[in-house]
Amino acid sequence: MSESTLRPGSPIPQLAPVTDENSFAQRVRYVLRLLWRDKGAVIGLLLFSLLVFSAIFADQLALYDPTAQNLRAAKQPPAWMEGGSWEYPLGTDNLGRDLYTRIIYGSRVSLTVGVFGTLIAATLGLVIGMLAGFMGGRVDGIIMTIVNVILALPYLLFVVFIAGVFGRSLFNVILIFGITDAPIFVRVARGEVLKIRQSGYVESAVSIGAKPFHILVDHILPNLIGPLLTVATFEMSAMIFYEAGLSFLGLSVPPSVPSWGNMLEQGRSVLRTLPWIAAFPGLAIMLSSLGMNLLGDWLRDVLDPRLRRARK
């Protein structure tokens, strides 16, 4: 009944080239098509791209030096309002610094914290979570106790403490976010590992005598990437938010470095008279967070294994 063209002992055929069905180009097109179907995701991707673009090409996009003060041009409203000009499209702050330029440069701070903070948290969380989920027993118990302690820490207090002892810097913020956010990834990774351990293909791998480490790395880990990626986008959005909060409190970057939180703080006291100073950074924070959340939503839908089969 079978149509095999080979018998054991027959000459081994040349390895055929990979067919179109799974070529890289086809897969990219598939993902783009999925993306387009979800308009929210398109917006999210746009916003995220804007953020990344601004951060990378800040020097080219900016109009001025972000720290350059020009007291004669201070407190100018945005270009479309009365008293404003296109020289300073979004207006200036009370020291005459161009808001547009500072927002562009501020994206660097937010993106850096978001990306590296999430990277650290996700890596830490993944490794620890896999260990806890896979080894179970006492190791799991100890790890989860530590994780719960960290989760219970009021991170603000922690940040104040670190800032007081080690000084304010972006590096410290990233490190703190990395550590205090890791527990979330530990929980996700551990939960998924526990679930995947019960699955048929892990049982099958055990039945062919695969070593435990190999099962963890080659079978379980690839199935963790999806959920982890989804959580990562949401955490990145949260970190952008939290960083803004921290610089608002003066606990993040020094005031000389433009950050959206700094700018919010500066605009707070003049909110009624010069609302644009706080409004635009606020908008930037909101849009960046929104963009990441939309992307995260899309990722979660796309990576849901139940929906994986629907091609068109």
């Binding site: 009944m1 079978s2 095999s4 081994i12 048929g200 005598g209 199935n223």
Partner: protein, 332 residues
């Protein structure tokens, strides 16, 4: 020639919150080279647990018993192996096929990689050699266009093809014993026939012994050399195929065969069923577990557990009653 597998008095228990489940209670059987043994029984009778316990794939405690495995390389007791030794046996010397091919394949790896995994683990092939050997295996199990199908993912295959992939994984290292745990239960009938044919062909090509677990007596009739009927964690009856179908000795077997719809049956007759339900395996009673449902039970059945006795040439039944004579068995 010693049998490829000789299981003697296997006892497996599960400790659960609701009590200890006596899943396997003294199961013994053997399989010879090139032979197909079908293990039949209803859900929950312990057939899967028995097989999986041999390779310690189940989480039950093995209380006692031995499982002598002899494939020409060496004779070993599977139940006494250390974990690293057991890992070598799994896949390398004994192949195992699971029931649901969809959940038994990793969705994020190509099927080629999953077959090659076994080759690289046991035969220590490098990537290229494993790749080529995998393509050969895919062709051997009847997957057309093997070279390009190597790179496909499980969801790109139909159920029958996935089961063929599972079979390829199981036979990759040329094991002398193949254990198939209800491999066709999840497939439709025409595909079932193809898979059965495939396994029989591979058996001949590779000289394997096959243990086929199923609850489908129709499949058994089409492929087994010997049959072991299990009930409540015990072997109720074991016999060569024809002998079992023509002269069943255990009331349970008789009931099972009677419950099969037949082509020559009258339209108006109802299917015979075995009254009652399978026992709760949390108890280990002193009487025959089938007594509640048995039409032939008498006093002795309620006083002690019957063990497997010889009732014919290669035919054993665990019953105190002789159904052919219509009287309690002598000398038991």
């Amino acid at each position: 020639m010693p049998p490829v597998l000789q299981v003697d008095n296997l006892v497996v228990r599960f400790n659960t919150q609701d009590g200890t489940v006596h899943a396997v209670n003294g199961v013994s059987f053997e399989v010879h080279e090139g032979e197909t043994l079908a293990i039949v029984g209803e859900s929950g009778c312990g057939k899967s647990v028995t097989m999986m316990s041999l390779l310690r794939l189940a989480s039950g405690r093995i209380l006692s018993g031995s499982a002598l495995f002899n494939d020409g390389y060496s004779q070993i007791d599977l139940l006494k192996l250390s974990e690293p030794e057991l890992r070598q046996v799994r896949g390398g010397r004994i192949g195992f096929i699971f029931q649901d091919p969809l959940s038994s394949l990793n969705p994020v790896l190509t099927i080629g990689e999953q077959i090659a995994e076994s080759l690289r683990e046991h035969l220590e092939m490098d990537e290229l050699a494993a790749h080529q050997r995998t393509i050969e295996l895919l062709a051997q199990v009847g997957i057309p266009d093997a070279a390009s199908r190597y790179h496909n993912y499980p969801h790109q295959f139909s159920g029958g093809m996935r089961q063929r992939v599972m079979i390829a994984i199981a036979i990759a290292c040329g094991p002398k014993l193949l254990i198939a745990d209800e491999p066709t239960t999840a497939l439709d009938v025409t595909i079932q026939a193809q898979i059965v044919d495939l396994v029989l062909r591979l058996q001949k090509e590779l000289g394997m012994a096959v243990i086929w677990i199923t609850h489908d007596l129709g499949i058994v009739a089409g492929m087994a050399d010997r049959v072991a009927v299990m009930y409540a964690g015990r072997v109720a009856e074991t016999a060569p195929l024809d002998e079992l179908y023509e002269h069943p000795q255990h009331p349970y077997t008789i009931g099972l065969l009677g419950a099969l719809p037949r082509l020559d049956e009258q339209k108006t007759s109802r299917l015979v069923n075995i009254k009652g339900a399978p026992p709760d395996l949390r108890n280990e009673p002193r009487h025959c577990q089938f007594a509640f449902r048995c039409g032939y039970a008498f006093e002795r059945c309620w006083a002690e557990q019957p063990s497997l006795v010889q009732v014919g040439g290669q035919h054993g039944a665990a019953c105190f009653y002789d159904v052919t004579q219509g009287v309690p068995r002598h000398g038991v």
